[in-house]
Symmetry: C2
Amino acid sequence: MSSTTLDGTDYLDAVSSDPGALGWMQGFPPPHNRVIRFEDDRCFEFPESRWSLSHIRELMPTVAVSRDPHQQRTLTASNDGHQEAIESLRFIDLTGQTLSWEQGLLGTYTDGIAIIHRGRLVYERYFGALRPHLPHLSFSLTKSYVATLAASLIYQGVLKDDWTAQHLIPELKGSAYADATIRQLLDMEVGVRYSEDYADRQSAVWQYQWATGMRPRPHPYDGPADLRALLPLLKKEGEHGQVFDYKTPNTEVLSWIMERLTGQPIAQFLSEQLWAPLGCEFDGTLIVDPTGVAVTGAGLSVTLRDLARFGELMCRHGAQGISQLIPAAVIDELIKGGEQTHFSATDYPLLPGYSYRNQWWVTHNALGAFEGRGIHGQRLHIAPRAELVIARLASHPVATSAANDLITLPLFAAVTELLCQERL
Amino acid sequence: MSSTTLDGTDYLDAVSSDPGALGWMQGFPPPHNRVIRFEDDRCFEFPESRWSLSHIRELMPTVAVSRDPHQQRTLTASNDGHQEAIESLRFIDLTGQTLSWEQGLLGTYTDGIAIIHRGRLVYERYFGALRPHLPHLSFSLTKSYVATLAASLIYQGVLKDDWTAQHLIPELKGSAYADATIRQLLDMEVGVRYSEDYADRQSAVWQYQWATGMRPRPHPYDGPADLRALLPLLKKEGEHGQVFDYKTPNTEVLSWIMERLTGQPIAQFLSEQLWAPLGCEFDGTLIVDPTGVAVTGAGLSVTLRDLARFGELMCRHGAQGISQLIPAAVIDELIKGGEQTHFSATDYPLLPGYSYRNQWWVTHNALGAFEGRGIHGQRLHIAPRAELVIARLASHPVATSAANDLITLPLFAAVTELLCQERL
């Protein structure tokens, strides 16, 4: 067994924490200390997470985001020396160490990575518990899916930037969200008291996880019975529209608005608008709360290829064949990005010059790149001017993206540079 | 609203209990009294069941029985006057009433029915909450799937009729199952103390439902923590091999044996052996217990067409195209049936001359018909000599098959007779 030190804590490294090597859920029954149960509240903890992020539906209730068997298309792999070239890459991480491509994948606890370049799937690898047919929890990439649909509704005039949440959901009167606008929700510029401090069991993030049913509730439990009982309880703190302030419940409010507006549960809307016409090969999976409401701040699981497929759609400005699934203007707006002065260099020292728009992270770089980012290493990187998409699913021990960005940013930069050399 | 009296109790009729009409889970959020929550323990109760049997994965943890996107095939409908002819049918039910075909479907609270005749899908209807892409709980049809795989393993010599459960699962020593043979498990001839009395909260059927996690546990709960903690606790009562005595845990023991023998979780084994090569269009869904063990006595949800497809495979003696997915001998053995003298005319007055073999109900009729049967109206009827398969999913208020057999038996007989006239 070998370990690695991250944020001052020792963790098993990727090889030693491989869920097969550790024997999680293997055997009939598995040894007592190798069973992962929802009620033990270790699903999202390392190293159990290396198994459970690929097996979410076995641990909690979920709803399918249905593909359409008549529209599905297979992504075919293409390899004209791409694999060899990519795997020969070496790069310097942000701590100054030189790493091989393989060390980069292992160092980020990658469960799967797929790269599409110029419309071709040029690289695809699976590690740990992930398999091509298994949906992997994407955490906050969920937000990018949902918000992209919302941005499309705005483009279509169904939803308006300046509408307040209260206008559409009267139940939110008196909460932080009452006077928050759709634009502020989309760009995470809502002043809401919501602490993501996991160490403090009184903090709102725990209320969120208990309300959604993503984690076992304490007994007795007298908190909000479900997600939409929680949202109206969140109080205002500061002003809206001043700074980028990342708060997961903002996306839940957005989904609530979309459901009431479209009359469709978000899983069905996502299926009809995106999953089916995109030709996804597998159903997505959304965690649902105890009343069947989809957890759209963090609850989508998706297979690696279907994730890459979504990235490719964004990369092609929403066009798939003769269909325009997402208005091109939505992607143009994304590339242009949000308000860079609202994005704190102090909070995100590794992301200088970035902004946040429509629940995507926008680089403002020469390639027009923007990203979906989810904790524990989930990433969907799209560089339209390089015709490049990198989809990565992971089970990194540390939640924050910053922990893996030390490797991820230079890793992705290196493969981008390689592919842009056009030798391949 | 109109109601119907069954077993001395008044129930809303099929039209009045339509889940859309009742508004279950409609709205964002639905009205308080129209939410179906697992914790309220009404999922399996009428009329909520009319919604929840088509939405099981939204209520509890499940594992996919994966289809293979590269092997899936679409069942195409064929209608040369079949639909009109079938819908013009009238028949006399076992209480002496004359009913139309439509009344027959409504009277059995049908959620979906598909008929395959001579290899063509000649009839297909959906009611209530069921949709073509939604898997519906099949209850004990699950047993027929699993036991068919076991019968194939016996044919292949991997499993032996006369092996005892204890031989393969030493943990069963001291339980009713210790000296039960594979054959006795398959034919439900095990002497085990297991009461299915739902009215008695001390009865074993409640232990089963709490252990599997299919129903919310009482607080505090000190019963078996999971399915395989329960099975070794079941005690012997009477002798094995004497009479047909239907007990759900027998199938769970069988699955445990198969998992240990094949080294594969049953969901994966079912996928590889059947779901994928059969060309299923949708994933099946198996309820899992808190340790991830599939509930194979009652936990499989399947789409209507994929269920019909399985029936068609059985009807064709296990052959699909050039592949033999199930040994023909397994189906020959089924048609021949089990020990009719072990089948109690007192317990099953509506099923004279039947026997039970390999977890199928065998009619011993001229058409060689056999059936899978699940509570609340689930039925897979296969008549090989008529080249006929009827798949029906339902949410009948009364659990026992006898309650709907009063209509189902003559309904199926009428459509069989019609199709066998060969006018179509």
